[in-house]
């Protein structure tokens, strides 16, 4: 009977197409929007992931990774004094203005790495060597800088010079790192030189990066450092989620994306539920005939469920496939943001299962109430 159920579904082309399209559109909308949302959240944590240090030490009032409250230089030594710290280095991060050779400006995110160890260096160099940062006026730029400068008519290559706050910066390397939330290019240099580029102020230390001794976990080390007055220490993973949740709670981003996802669910329920109801309703007379001929309720219920979940499975596959295709296309351009963790297709699958179950229940309620004697009327 299951084959018959599938033939009844697939050969009713208009309703079948409507059901699959509705569920595919619903899946696409939810999957694509959720993935763009996740991508956006990943952008907010780009600094944490690009630097990759186990423990981040910040001012006690800092709430997330992109918030910088400058600290005194002495904090590096205080952190080093904590039991369990294997190493601790300073990190400068600030928004500065780069002036290009044609006189135009570009805001950049200047990242000053510890001069001795270059801790937090970019993982992927596409040109040049990171060690060359120790050369005079040397900077390493990311792929976003290359792209943004190219749009302004300047081709960045090794040896290209520009100015940061009226001081010369010479490109000695090009790297590929995760894009920042605000889309500003990352410019890497040494910590000491970053302080020279930055506008002078009394406190200039953005973060202290620390690593634990063997046998000490990141969380444990963060807890020990956190006992120092005026400082807050956060393990990398905790800082990642702290930042994500900060953006979720303090911006309208989740509401905006959540509304679209909700619309997807409503559209799915409305289109799929209604069309499937019509499909069952149109077949009610034949289901009654089957019931009269000896089909038992579990058989009919299995047929209806199979029909609902078949269109659900196909629609889900098409929708998630289209979302993945969209993701592949945009990932090549790195915008809009797109990140599809396994939880996204799992969430969409759960919603589709709910929609199919809901649609089936409506249909099954009618089938259950069906008197086989109706075929004689």
């Amino acid at each position: 009977m299951l084959t018959i159920a599938l033939k009844m579904l697939f050969r009713d082309r208009a309703k079948y197409a409507m059901l699959v399209c509705g569920l595919a559109f619903c899946s696409l909308l939810m999957c694509q929007q959720s993935s763009v949302f996740c991508g956006l959240m990943m952008w907010t944590t780009a600094t944490v992931r690009n630097i990759g240090a186990p423990v981040w030490v910040v001012d006690a009032k800092v709430e997330q990774a992109n918030e910088v409250i400058p600290m005194r230089q002495i904090e590096v030594e205080r952190v080093r004094s904590v039991d369990g710290v294997a190493w601790a280095v300073p990190l400068y991060i600030g928004i500065e203005q780069a002036r290009l050779s044609d006189g135009s400006f570009q805001n950049v995110q200047l990242t000053g790495l510890d001069t001795g160890t270059l801790t937090g260096r970019p993982m992927e160099m596409t040109a040049g060597r990171i060690e060359d940062l120790r050369l005079p006026n040397a900077v390493v730029v990311d792929q976003v800088a290359v792209e943004k400068f190219r749009r302004k008519g300047i081709a960045i290559q090794l040896g290209t010079s520009f100015e940061i706050n009226d001081k010369e910066a010479r490109v000695v390397g090009i790297c590929h790192v995760s894009r920042s939330f605000l889309g500003q290019p990352y410019i890497y240099t040494t910590y000491d030189r970053a302080l020279e580029y930055a506008k002078p102020s009394r406190k200039q230390l953005s973060y202290v990066l620390a690593g634990p001794l063997p046998g000490v976990s990141d969380a444990e080390l963060a807890a020990r450092i956190g006992r120092l007055p005026g400082l807050r220490a956060i393990a990398k993973d905790d800082l990642f989620w702290l930042t994500v949740w900060w953006y979720i709670k303090n911006t309208g981003i989740p509401i905006s994306f959540g509304t679209v996802v909700l619309l997807g669910i409503i559209v799915g329920i409305a289109i799929a539920g209604q069309t499937f109801y019509l499909f069952v309703h149109d077949n009610l007379r034949y289901l009654a005939a089957l019931k009269a001929m000896g089909a038992r309720m579990p058989t009919l219920a299995t047929m209806v469920l199979l029909q609902a979940f078949s269109v659900g499975f196909i629609g889900y596959g098409i929708g998630v496939g289209l979302a993945a295709w969209f993701g592949n296309v945009v990932l090549a351009k790195e915008q809009p943001p797109f990140f599809m963790p396994w939880q996204v297709p799992a969430f969409v699958a759960a919603v589709i299962i709910f929609i199919c179950s809901f649609s089936s229940l409506i249909g099954l309620a009618k089938v259950a109430r069906l008197e086989p004697a109706v075929v004689f009327r």
Partner: protein, 241 residues
């Protein structure tokens, strides 16, 4: 010369059936009694609303009666549970409906194979056997056609094939000629009589089409929820209009 004794296939005794109608109840059957025999085509006739279809529904177990006894092949339907009645119906009864009730998205052979599939025969074997029956009723070449590609008469032949394919012992026909023109109705009844009748099978036809009464072996006349008479010679039956 002695006649062979009649074997009873269906026995209905003093059956009462009522339906709720607002605060009151409407009695569709008021003590109907009837016997159908193996090897005969019994036609139940009577005016609209006399309870023919209700009686048919009770005989095939799609409706329960309030009072009385219903025995089909020595099985007391009132003593059987719903699941058992459904299984019994699946195995022993073939249906021919007024509106054919062929599933529009299945081909003729797929429609005809449905009772076999319901009885656990796998698809290819069921379709092979359904194809043979379709050929027997003269529409073997239409086996891959969908119902909307068939004429009314052809659709009724598919319905007859579907009723016969699993070799049931009881065939229930509800107004089998009501949706057909006169000539096609006559042909359908000829086909039904020639292909369905069998010494070990009983065919019960409900109809108020007096042009097909002569196909019956016996006629049971109903009026106002009761069987008012059974006529052994249909040619001598003249309905009171």
């Amino acid at each position: 010369m002695n006649e062979a004794p009649h074997r009873t296939a269906v026995r209905v005794e003093n059956v009462v059936k009522s339906f709720a109608a607002g605060d009151s109840r409407t009695f569709a059957l008021k003590g109907a009694t009837l016997e159908a025999r193996f090897g005969e085509l019994l036609m139940i006739v009577g005016p609209s609303g006399c309870g023919k279809t209700t009686l048919l529904s009770i005989i095939c177990g799609t409706l329960n009666c309030d009072e009385g006894a219903v025995t089909v092949f020595d099985h007391d339907l009132r003593a059987m549970k719903d699941g058992a009645i459904t299984r019994f119906r699946c195995k022993n009864i073939g249906f021919i409906f007024q509106q054919f009730n062929l599933i529009p998205t299945l081909t003729a052979v797929e429609n005809a194979s449905v009772p076999l599939v319901l009885n656990g025969i796998r698809g290819p074997e069921a379709e092979r056997r359904a194809g043979e029956i379709l050929a027997e009723v003269g529409i073997g070449e239409k086996r891959e056609s969908y119902p909307n590609q068939l004429s009314g008469g052809q659709q009724q032949r598919v319905a007859i094939s579907r009723a016969l394919v699993h070799e049931p012992r009881l065939i229930i026909c509800d107004e089998p000629t009501a949706s057909l023109d006169a000539a096609t109705g006559q042909k359908t009844m000829e086909l039904l009589k020639s292909s369905a009748l069998h010494p070990d099978r009983c065919v019960i036809v409900v109809s108020h089409d007096n042009r097909i009464y002569h196909f019956a072996d016996r006629i049971a006349e109903m009026e106002d929820g009761r069987v008012t008479g059974v006529f052994d010679d249909p040619k001598k039956y003249h309905p009171v209009l």
